[in-house]
Symmetry: C2
Subunit: 416 residues, 2 copies
Amino acid sequence: MPFVTQKTSSFPIISPVCPHPNFQRTPATAMAMSTAIKRSAAAATRALSSATSSSILTRDLHASSGKKKIVGVFYKAHEYAKMNPNFVGCVENALGIRNWLESQGHEYIVTDDKEGPDCELEKHIPDAHVIITTPFHPGYITAERIKKAKNLQLLLTAGIGSDHVDLKAAADAGLTVAEVTGSNVVSVAEDELMRILILVRNFLPGYHQVITGDWNVAGIAYRAYDLEGKTVGTVGCGRIGRLLLQRLKPFGCNLLYHDRIKMDPELENQIGASFEEDLDKMLPKCDIVVINTPLTEKTKGLFDKERIAKLKKGVFIVNNARGAIMDTQAVADGCSSGHIGGYSGDVWYPQPAPKDHPWRYMPNQAMTPHISGTTIDAQLRYAAGVKDMLENYFKGEDFPAQHYIVKEGELASQYR
Amino acid sequence: MPFVTQKTSSFPIISPVCPHPNFQRTPATAMAMSTAIKRSAAAATRALSSATSSSILTRDLHASSGKKKIVGVFYKAHEYAKMNPNFVGCVENALGIRNWLESQGHEYIVTDDKEGPDCELEKHIPDAHVIITTPFHPGYITAERIKKAKNLQLLLTAGIGSDHVDLKAAADAGLTVAEVTGSNVVSVAEDELMRILILVRNFLPGYHQVITGDWNVAGIAYRAYDLEGKTVGTVGCGRIGRLLLQRLKPFGCNLLYHDRIKMDPELENQIGASFEEDLDKMLPKCDIVVINTPLTEKTKGLFDKERIAKLKKGVFIVNNARGAIMDTQAVADGCSSGHIGGYSGDVWYPQPAPKDHPWRYMPNQAMTPHISGTTIDAQLRYAAGVKDMLENYFKGEDFPAQHYIVKEGELASQYR
């Protein structure tokens, strides 16, 4: 593999091997332990007095010292685990931090068994201090599990997107939730652009012809287009959305974005995208709609039957954000009727997608399992990010500010 | 289809509906008929006296007046022909120029039947004045056919790449060969970037899991990478190569190019690519190699077993140029051994690819039939370009200079 030999030399990894401009850490503010304790105490108090809080808290405080029990929930790689020394994001390679953790006396349990009352994760919930998981094979941290987790202090997402955690319950319980912001934004943005092209260029019917021994250019060409000149709109324009727009710029598209916040005019001008304050005014203009918003109470089911009906007939949709932002059946129906010209993404609800998930069978889909944010490059970055945060945690120091999803009883702005 | 309703309103087409900066025509020089005749006579003389010429010429001269017989060889679209009013590149829709030609009294024969001594094309060879074909379903114009074609004056390629014509024989016979330079360069460059991403991100194994009811993130992730930070080298850097490099720029890759000619330093700097004079010194540096050179005597079989062995282990290869630039079996063997990590392209030798073509069955292929230059947008542009050239031809005027592949007995520089 060219990338293996080129990109890295040692394993387990120490630092991100593939740094990029969007993975710049703000220097961690060195904080005395007492400050951390004060903050956590304040958070616990706030949580207790919050109108939305209903549980009585008896928690260890964030960043208390001593040996910790850390539980990691990752996907199993089986025979693939040994095929690439940089494949750190699986159960077997456990982010490459086992030796480092155990040499300091911490306990490190790793599993992929995460569902139901008898699963491995459930067993370790009562005494875990830290739970690490990924969006690709998420250990769901429900309010019920949080209630049982008397020692729990820290929930780390190796990657981006912490909707597998009941964030309100976590905030109320005074837990800290953090993710490795920026660790795989480039990975996801690249993957989105690939999916746009796969749909617009009508790639898959051509590939099917090749493997079935066929050759029928017309059967592909009648609905294959250039991306040039088309209108692409992103629903949500955070880091991933911006990276996508930057990569789209040389394609000569008409670029639109909808977000809570308008970009800085200079950046907007540089990217060449137009702000659309009203989502429902933007959508009918789009030949291609890309979903780049986190899953929150507001975005759950955002694309239901009614909203899909307002899209341009034949629209292409790319969704690497979260499956539950879409109404599953409405998407399948839209693809069947042709109102949606193609749908591609790597996120499903639930995950893993069951064998009978309708998106597996609908026409003009270009779906994959949840993969875009777990490239080898991304794994190296988020494993390094998790290690850095654990190091800060053991020392009682703050994390880089942009990593926090729940801190001191408060949710990050995108989840409010 | 959003693009249909958005991009056009009338059929048959009159002018390119989707113009782009690379499709700028130089103003056709108005030439008196006598000048054209003089030039053609000069060419015929040159051809006769050429050391490589062996045939005796009795030709009508280029741009002579009168009713013409025009033969078009395109792919058949069957049921797809009516599915999109802009699908002009097929037999049924015949570039949208039938009414225009027939209203002027010209004869216009269109067929997809192009092989063997009894095919439809062969029947019309003796009295055709103009033959139009495409690289997607090429009517091969061999030396033997040129010999039989006593009335032939003009060979037009609807698209780019005229290697289906025996160019030497055409030059010796005083024929004019021209293509619609620029008509689908954006289409092909976009498609190449899609293929790079499909290989680097390991898309197809994920898609296969979806349609087979599987879910195994590890089986994809262990060899899925970001494009960012990788080294991409293009072999040949004409219009398509440059458009590809421009689109790659925001991905943060290390960009290399090999060509006969070094780019203008300003353009090189703007694109951010480094010139590699020696192909064999560039290749071992590349994680991804893209072929962007025409098929000529020099490039035929350029990637044989020996050259492939010099590539980085696990290299990804994208080839939308011509299949015969590769040694077919060497590519299949390279994919089987893993020396080639993935191979994607839409060009084959021969075309259509037979059912037992080894590239259909080799591992890690992401092949399609020849499609990248025949998107709907590209069809509209090359149909308009052919119409413009016919108009010039009927009037005895020159074509835009960059369209000529053979003119007055001389081959365009890229074919010499």
